[in-house]
Every structure is written in C-alpha cells, then in structure tokens.
C-alpha cells in the first residue's frame, strides 16, 4: 500500500497550485477554479486520513465540504455574472465598487 505521506504531499502540491492561482491571476473565474482546487486538495487530505485510520468520519466531512462548495460556486458565479453585466469586466483588480 502507498504510504500516507505521498497522498499528503500530493494534496499539499495541489493546495499550493490553488494558492498561486488565487494570488497571481486576475480573472475572477480562474480565481474560482483555484479555490475549487484548494477545496479538492483538502478533501484529498481528509479522505487519506480517513482511509489510513479506518474511520469513515473523514469522508463525512468531505461530503459537507462538497455541499458547501456547490453552494459557494452557485452564489459566486451569480455574483460574477451580475458584476459583469454591471461593469463589463471580470478582472479582480478592476472590481472595486465596494471601495468607498
């Protein structure tokens, strides 16, 4: 069986890619995708622990993470579409209408 460390390192790598995407990209939809990458990496960690401890509780947590991620994606993309209709842009550094 593959050591647990390999799964953990893989999910750390995936999380890092997500962070890079959030930090350096300007398109808000790419930022969304990067957030999904980070959520997936955390899910992978939880499932890894769950499998190697023989305890299904970790998988329960993953279900709730997935549910919240689905809600987040729906509301977030709704906001993006409304913003695009208003401002004609999806670049995060041009969206500053909450700034006073």
């Amino acid at each position: 069986m593959i050591p647990l460390d390999y799964y953990l390192i893989l999910s750390a790598l995936l999380f890092t890619f997500g962070v890079i995407g959030v930090v350096i990209r300007r398109n808000v939809i790419i930022v969304f995708m990067s957030i999904e990458l980070m959520l997936n990496s955390v899910n992978l960690t939880l499932v890894g622990y769950s499998a190697y401890l023989g305890d299904p509780t970790g998988q329960m947590l993953v279900f709730f993470v997935i549910a919240v991620a689905a809600a987040e994606a729906a509301v977030g993309l709704g906001i993006v579409i409304a913003l695009f209709r208003l401002r004609r842009t999806v670049n995060v550094d041009e969206i500053n209408i909450l700034k006073w």
Partner: protein, 169 residues
C-alpha cells in the same frame, strides 16, 4: 513497483499536470477543461483510498455540477478566445516567496510527522456513511440541505436579468 503504485503515479501526474494548466494557462477555456481532468484524477485517488461512494459523488457534483456552472460562467462573461489574464507586474516576487514558504511548511509538516495509522478497512463504504448520516450527523445533514436551498434561491436572485421585470432572461 506493483500495479497499485503505477496507478497512483498515473493519477498523481494527471492531477498535478492538469492543476498546473488550470493555473498557468493563458486561455480560460483551456483552464476550465483542464479542471475536468483534475476532478477526475482526484476521483481516481478516492477509489484508490477505498472511498468508492465518495468518488462517484465527486464525479457527479464536481464534474456534473460545479464544472458545468463554471463553464457557463466563462461563456457568459468572456469572449472565449480572449488572450488577456496573467498579472504582468502585479507582485509576482512577493507572491512566489509567500507561496514557497507556505508549501514548504505544509509539505514539511506532512513529511516529518509520524502519522498514526490503523489497518485499512476493505469493502464498500456506502453503508457506514449512510448510517453516520442518519445518526451522528443528522443535524449537519439537515443544515446542509437548507444551505443548498438558500444558495439556490440566492443565486437565482442575484443573477436575474433586471430587478424590476418578472422572469428576466
């Protein structure tokens, strides 16, 4: 190196390469489709980890739901061939430093900690998960369903065409 190791390496490569493309590709549509392979790769890793029901859920919800939603977002907000994006001068060096420190810390913790492990449990997980959903996790389960309903209504409200008109496009 036996069969399981090879499968793990293949799925890990799929996940890493496609995640790289998601983050660094210049075409947003390519990012979106590359995300598909990331999700499938993670689902494959779930199967390797004996989480069969979760793997199917991953494919159904992430690939069938969230990815389609993202694709709709892409197509409603960008002309697909646009070549913009990438920060240019926007603080690439501090970002690189922070990300390197962060990933080093996480990977170091993961690698140097002695994780306590138990013998793996074989067989399907669906029954155990269903039992947990209906006993210990019943309240979070109901709260999650209410959250999904609220998100559904909220997303429809926010993305509606105009505030005054009924049933806008």
């Amino acid at each position: 190196m036996d069969f399981v190791d090879i499968i793990f390496v293949v799925f890990a490569l799929i996940v890493v390469v496609s995640a790289f493309i998601v983050v660094f590709s210049r075409s947003i549509i390519r990012s979106a489709f590359s995300l598909l392979f990331t999700f499938f790769g993670v689902a494959g890793l779930y199967v390797l980890l004996n989480a069969d029901f979760l793997a199917v859920t991953q494919v159904l919800i992430y690939v069938g739901g969230i990815l389609i939603l993202i694709l709709f977002g892409v197509m409603l907000t960008t002309n697909v061939v646009s070549v913009e994006i990438k920060t240019g001068t926007l603080q690439t060096v501090p970002a690189a430093v922070i990300v390197a420190v962060l990933s080093g810390t996480i990977a170091g913790i993961f690698w140097f900690t002695e994780w306590h492990t138990a013998p793996a449990r074989e067989g399907p997980t669906t029954k155990a998960l269903g039992t947990l959903f209906m006993t210990d996790y019943l309240l979070p389960f109901e709260i999650a369903s209410i959250l999904l309903l609220v998100a559904l209504i909220g997303a429809a409200m926010i993305a509606r065409h105009e505030r005054g008109t009924e049933g806008g496009r």
